[in-house]
């Protein structure tokens, strides 16, 4: 009569667990994956996030990709994929913090429980049901991992751009469609300078773009304009890095990339002050650097004056009227040859002379004459404000705007090579803005004229906060905004970076489809600009190491933590290994190109491309 039901239990719950799908699942090869744990029922499981208790003898770590299956009533199985974004371990059975000592002494029995917080990335098919407590969870590997992170579809359409590696050296990809303008464009990178390795990551993305084959036949004609704002880091892009270890080489190969230098690079630097030949002002690199400047004729005809006034468009500033009037008068200057101009009879060969002529005109005793230059009803105070600023600019830009050197047309920033590096690091902020503004406008107009988006023009620019600050307007900011808003259709793609996204014009950040974050300051990480980062990743961003980035792309609901390999190109003179290939235009007359190393590299233009 008495039939006691004796249940011996050790780890498992004694209630029959309501699990409908005990199938552990299998990866694409049909090999059943080992379950790592089960969905827990003591925390809410939702279609967006859930907790997984980790089984004995298993572990889950941050960024692991997991999968499980649920079969809702009356439907086929739904695969739920997610990424581990937090893991925790705790003592079960302990009530006081000090119980840990009792447990360690073997006095109090307790269980260590490990649980992982999973954020869902994908439902296949899209039936957004929560996973059920008790369901088995497995690590997603191989094809299943690709599916979890949408890499399968990227690969199918040949749009998978290698973007870095996981800590286990598994490749991670960006969807090119969100970079090339098809569905989105622009990359924005934030992070503390020095530790965030923003520029290095931007260059890695460029290298990946040019060498992974995602651009197809367009890769050859795709151009990049890179502004070097700090140090001489980017002046050696065309040299292989002799510090690259075999281990790092393997990491490139994991991404199907061949490690090496950028193949076609032209480096432009401002001329050294006081140098009669206009030799480039760089310390580390002796050869293969072109100096650049603008002639006075270009300055007048191409209306470059406003770029000297960062706040020229600010309507509260009275003297902007003067800027526009003077610009119009300078348009009327007559060429004098070799870049010089004659302004109303006065020959002008240097920027100082130009400023003197303008100053004299504005201060002319004949009020009619002064008004012709300054504009009607402009007060003397306003004119003086303009003159003061113009005079202030002389020291900073006189070596950039001149007509005292022969063959001035050889000293222009060109877009002939695949990568054009424009060095700004020796320039004062005002001169930097001038150069960036003028070069960007040139690139922009070039794309506008060509009338087609492909091949693409990439622009890499750090310190965006200087050129497009959140407050105020300026001609440079207008151009950057133009790039951000119309660049997608024009095929001009901005890879912008800054220490703090909160200081950069919102529309520029907002228009970037791909957002990247390196090490962030804790106060900065809590700002709304980083709303795309889940809380855990915001915390991680404050401790992230150089070489690691958090990358958010529109297709994936949560950002991925990526590591990128050590640069395969030199970032300083001591790393510069293999000499650069000859320049794209070997016939150029270039006084600065003395002693350039001849090399054998003019052969196969596809050398170094991954074999199809």
């Amino acid at each position: 009569m008495i039939s006691p039901l004796v249940v011996a239990v050790t780890r498992t719950w004694y209630f029959p667990v309501m699990v409908r799908d005990e199938d552990g699942g299998a990866d694409a090869d049909g090999v059943p994956a080992v379950p790592v744990g089960r969905v827990i029922g003591t925390e809410d499981a939702t279609p967006l996030e859930f907790w997984v208790a980790v089984s004995d003898g298993q572990f889950l770590q941050l960024d692991d990709v997991v999968a499980l299956e649920r079969t809702p009533p009356g439907r086929g199985p739904v695969r739920i994929y997610g990424v581990v974004s937090q893991v925790r371990a705790r003592h079960e059975g302990a009530r006081f913090d000090s119980d840990v000592f009792l447990i360690a002494d073997g006095v109090l029995p307790a269980e260590i429980s490990e649980a992982a917080f999973v954020q869902a990335t994908r439902f296949e098919p899209e039936v957004f049901v929560p996973p059920l407590p008790g369901q088995l969870v497995r690590k997603a590997t191989g094809a299943e991992r690709d599916q979890a992170l949408f890499f399968d579809e990227m690969r199918k359409s040949y749009k998978a751009l290698p973007a870095g590696l996981t800590r286990d050296d598994e490749p991670l990809y960006l969807n090119l469609e969100f970079l090339d303008g098809t569905r989105g464009a622009h990359v924005n990178i934030s992070g503390i300078s020095g530790v965030a390795t923003k520029t290095t990551y931007a260059m890695f993305l460029l290298y990946s773009l040019f060498n992974s084959g995602v651009l197809g036949a367009d890769a050859l004609n795709t151009k990049a304009l890179v502004f070097n704002v700090k140090g001489e880091d980017l002046l050696f892009l065309d040299h292989a890095n002799n510090q690259l270890t075999d281990e790092q080489r393997e990491r490139y190969e994991r991404l199907d990339l061949v490690p090496g230098a950028f193949r076609s690079v032209e480096v432009f630097a401002p001329p050294r002050r006081g140098d009669r030949n206009g030799a480039p002002d760089v310390a580390a690199r002796a050869t293969g650097v072109m100096s650049f400047f603008w002639t006075l004729e270009q300055f007048c005809k191409e209306r470059l004056l406003p770029f000297l006034f960062a706040d020229a468009e600010d309507e509260r500033q009275q003297y902007t009227m003067v800027v526009h009037n003077v610009t119009a008068r300078l348009m009327e200057a007559q060429p004098l040859g070799e870049g010089g101009v004659v302004i109303e009879g006065a020959p002008v060969r240097t920027f100082q002379e130009l400023v003197d002529v303008v100053t004299a005109k504005l201060s002319d005793e004949d009020p009619q004459e002064a008004a012709r230059w300054a504009g009607r009803a402009i007060g003397a105070g306003t004119i003086n404000a303009f003159i003061r600023r113009l005079q202030g600019a002389v020291d900073h830009v006189e070596h950039l705007i001149r007509a005292d050197l022969p063959n001035p047309l050889d000293h222009q920033v060109r877009f002939d090579a695949q990568v054009s590096v424009v060095d700004l690091h020796n320039l004062n902020d005002r001169a930097k803005r001038f150069v960036v503004g003028v070069v960007l406008r040139k690139a922009f107009e070039r794309k506008e004229r060509s009338g087609q988006a492909k091949p693409l023009q990439f622009v890499v620019l750090d310190e965006l906060n200087k050129y497009a600050p959140r407050e105020g307007t300026s001609p440079i900011k207008e151009i950057l905004l133009d790039v951000a808003e119309r660049g997608r259709s024009l095929g001009i793609i901005l890879i912008g970076a800054q220490q703090t996204a909160s200081e950069v014009e919102r529309r520029i950040v907002a228009n970037s489809a791909v957002r990247v974050v390196g090490r962030l300051d804790a106060a900065e990480a809590s700002r709304g600009e980083y709303g795309f980062l889940p809380q855990v990743q915001r915390q991680r961003a404050t401790i992230i190491k150089p070489g690691t980035m958090i990358v958010s792309q529109p297709e994936l609901p949560i950002p991925l933590v990526v590591q990128f390999p050590f640069p395969a190109w030199a970032t300083r003179a001591s790393e510069a290994g293999v000499a650069p290939s000859p320049p794209a235009r070997a016939d150029r007359r270039d006084t600065t190109e003395v002693g350039r190393t001849a090399s054998d590299g003019m052969g196969d233009p596809f050398a170094g491309f991954p074999s199809p």
């Binding site: 006691p4 039901l5 004694y14 029959p16 006081f96």
Partner: protein, 310 residues
């Protein structure tokens, strides 16, 4: 079988106030002179030379919970009172780490109706236990059933350690000489008046001499003081007992070893309301066992659901 569940929660239906333990009927001291003559009774401090404490100790305990009072209608239409209860027994092994190695769980329907049936809810089974008499007899039957489970668990782990501490006195079926009964409360003072005097004089880690207890079976028993504030003569005192199936010398050695071994398991007042007597491993085991009984509200819901279905 038709049954209904008392709408009042079990703690209101008088089922819970029943006695906590089976009274130790008829226990008498047979001989307090087994280790020392009564005239020489004094606190004994375990010698440093006494055997090293066992590196491996097992603790066994059980818990029980009344889930619901049910009213069962027999074929004649008469209504009988029954109790649905869950109870469990388990083992903790302490050998460097404390680990719960076994938990046995049972659920039962205790009632006086001889031709009743077990209650099956959607997920739980309450096996039928027919009890003669009602009222406190039902509670007592639950207690006995849990004690039986503890005995079974103890038997299953026989020989796994030289010391197996059982929470409560040794009972019928506890026939393993390695078992040590561990009694936390002292409703009865055993032996002559000298016993109480010596108990009051015990310092932490000291024990009284052995005495022989009789009925239901012969046991050696002694008192031990655990660490903790000495608020009164009996604070921190536990009584231990082992079967009188080994020689006095062997039991003395064991008593000394336990006097050195047990104090480290004694609980602190802020961590356990029954400190220091409620030992940490036993408290941990009880907590785990209670957890395994399941959520009381959930079990009650299951029972109510089953009642309406029947």
């Amino acid at each position: 079988m038709r049954f209904t569940v008392e709408t009042w929660a079990p703690e209101y239906s008088g089922a819970v106030g029943a006695p906590d333990a089976v009274p130790e009927a008829g226990t008498t001291v047979v001989d307090p002179n087994v280790e020392l003559p009564v005239a020489e009774w004094r606190p004994i401090a375990p010698l440093a030379t006494s055997p090293v404490p066992a590196p491996r100790v097992l603790f066994i305990d059980g818990v029980r919970r009344v889930e619901a009072t049910v009213w069962i209608s027999d074929d004649g239409g008469a209504v009988h009172r029954g109790l649905c209860a869950s109870y469990a027994a388990g083992v903790v092994v302490c050998d460097g780490i404390a680990q719960i190695v076994e938990c046995r769980l049972e659920r039962g329907l205790f009632c006086s109706l001889a031709n009743g049936e077990p209650i099956r809810t959607r997920r739980l089974d309450f096996g039928l236990h027919v009890v003669a008499g009602g009222g406190d007899a039902l509670m007592l039957a639950i207690q006995k059933r849990m004690a039986r489970l503890e005995v079974e668990v103890a038997a299953a782990h026989r020989g796994e350690a030289s010391t197996i501490v059982v929470d409560g006195p040794l009972r019928d079926g506890h026939d393993d000489p390695d078992l040590v009964g561990y009694i936390k409360t002292h409703a009865v003072a055993y032996g002559p008046a000298i016993v109480s005097d010596v108990v009051a004089a015990l310092e932490v880690g000291q024990r009284t001499p052995l005495m022989l207890l009789g009925v239901p079976n012969d046991r050696f028993s002694w008192y031990l003081r655990l660490p903790g504030p000495k608020a009164h003569g009996w604070s921190g005192i536990v009584r231990l007992e082992v079967l009188a199936s080994r020689s006095v010398q062997e039991v003395v050695a064991k008593a000394d070893a336990l006097a050195r071994e047990l104090p480290r398991f004694a609980s602190a007042a802020h961590k356990d309301p029954r400190a220091p007597q409620n030992l940490y491993p036993i408290a941990g085991l009880e907590r785990e066992l209670r957890r395994r009984l399941g959520d009381a509200a959930f079990v009650l819901r299951e029972l109510r659901e089953a009642a309406t279905l029947t």
